[in-house]
Subunit: 252 residues, 2 copies
């Protein structure tokens, strides 16, 4: 037997990507995904398969400004080499922003203390041809003040069962929302910023979709609070489309 | 013979489009173009072929914030109907911003007094996955002051032969530059704004490409002035890529 005497190293990547043309983060057979694409390029560099752990498993069409991922290799290639070569090898829709060593037991997903997501809405009469993949375009006017009341309601620890994916039945549905804000730019670009110690699958999109119903006057703030309190996984949902969602930061 | 007793009307459209997936403005057989796509939808509405005249014939990958176009029809459909129906029928990459009647002899191209183009450059170390189709991404630092000197030089009436397409041999190459400015946002997004009474084919992209050579220190401001003065159509050129270019306005 040949002994592998190369020490294993753990390398962390900060990745930004335009999720438009990908079937989400998670590796899938025969479909382009972020994880699959980056793993393939790393494997081509080191000559063996690698497993890339991402902090957030973004869905199809969802973007990342700052995804954190790590992989373990025995290769002597250094982070600056991975940084340069991966940026040369990857499609222009995926950018490695940083690469560096981390302790061997660092795990991008399990070690994350909180994640920050951003959700962008263009609230203009006319859609923009340039934002069709980058924001949810809503022509009817949204009432910002009632949407902000909803954001107040979700602050802190709550059982978010009403806003999770129906498939998430066995997961503890309590999450702590650390930050829930709405920023307005030029009067028509609304950016929701949500930070929590973790998110259930589709939680951001279900929350935003339901808050938008409040903003459109189709649901009251009290109605929103009732949905949250009902902890009802069968909540019919009003899932916001993926193109407005960005993984913005991961904190450790 | 059936007499066509419907009066012809001339309808003007203001159009914004993301040029990424199109082979430019001008109709081409078997290739998606802006003109071809919009003509097809109008024809479907009025039941006969129409000819759409655009103010600027943008090239493949070039965008428009405000393209002006007109078409003549005998159809009784009104501009608000065209506005609504075209926005419903067209792909999300083409948006009709306005529709209205104009005098029957209005011609979007011949009547234009000036056109304004914008060219966007992202001058950051790292590329952005979100701007790969919407700006020229240049990692090496650009010297803004020398590029502004070049913009001073092109102001006014000049023979722009050095910056035209080799195929433009028979066209009068004198154009009057009314405005030539460089705006800087957040330190790394550079926007050139060029207004002229008309532009030769590839003129903006050849000018920007050559000015960027000055900004990179590969050509002096004097060298730039000499190229302009040489009026040499065989100028090797340094054509900037299409994705940074936007037709921004057309003035009548």
């Amino acid at each position: 037997m040949v002994e592998n005497n190369l020490e294993q190293k753990n390398i962390k990547l900060i990745i930004a990507y335009d999720g438009t043309t990908f079937f989400g983060w998670q590796r899938q057979k025969d479909k382009p995904t972020i994880q699959g694409t980056v793993e393939e390029k790393i494997a081509a560099m080191v000559g063996e398969p690698v497993s890339l752990i991402g902090a957030g498993r973004t869905d199809a069409g969802v973007h990342a400004l700052h995804q954190v991922a790590n992989f373990r290799v025995s290769s002597p290639l250094t982070p600056p080499i991975f940084f340069k070569a991966l940026n040369a090898l990857l499609p222009a829709s995926i950018i490695i922003k940083e690469a560096g060593y981390v302790p061997i037991d660092f795990h991008a997903r399990y070690d994350a203390k909180s994640k920050v997501y951003e959700y962008r809405i263009l609230n203009e009469d006319l859609h923009s041809p340039f934002l069709r993949h980058y924001a949810w375009q809503i022509s009817r006017s949204l009432d910002v003040s009632v949407m902000k009341e909803c954001l107040q309601i979700i602050q802190g620890a709550h059982d978010f069962s009403s806003f999770c994916s129906p498939g998430d039945g066995k997961i503890n549905p309590v999450r702590t929302v650390i930050q829930a804000e709405l920023e307005i730019e030029k009067g028509d670009l609304l950016t929701f910023i949500l930070e929590a110690n973790g998110f259930l699958r589709y939680m951001v999109r279900n929350l935003i979709g339901t808050i938008v119903r409040v903003g459109l006057g189709r649901l009251s703030v009290d109605g929103f609070a009732e949905i949250l309190e009902s902890r009802d996984r069968r909540h019919p949902g009003a899932k916001a489309p993926p193109e407005g969602l960005y993984l913005k930061d991961v904190k450790y």
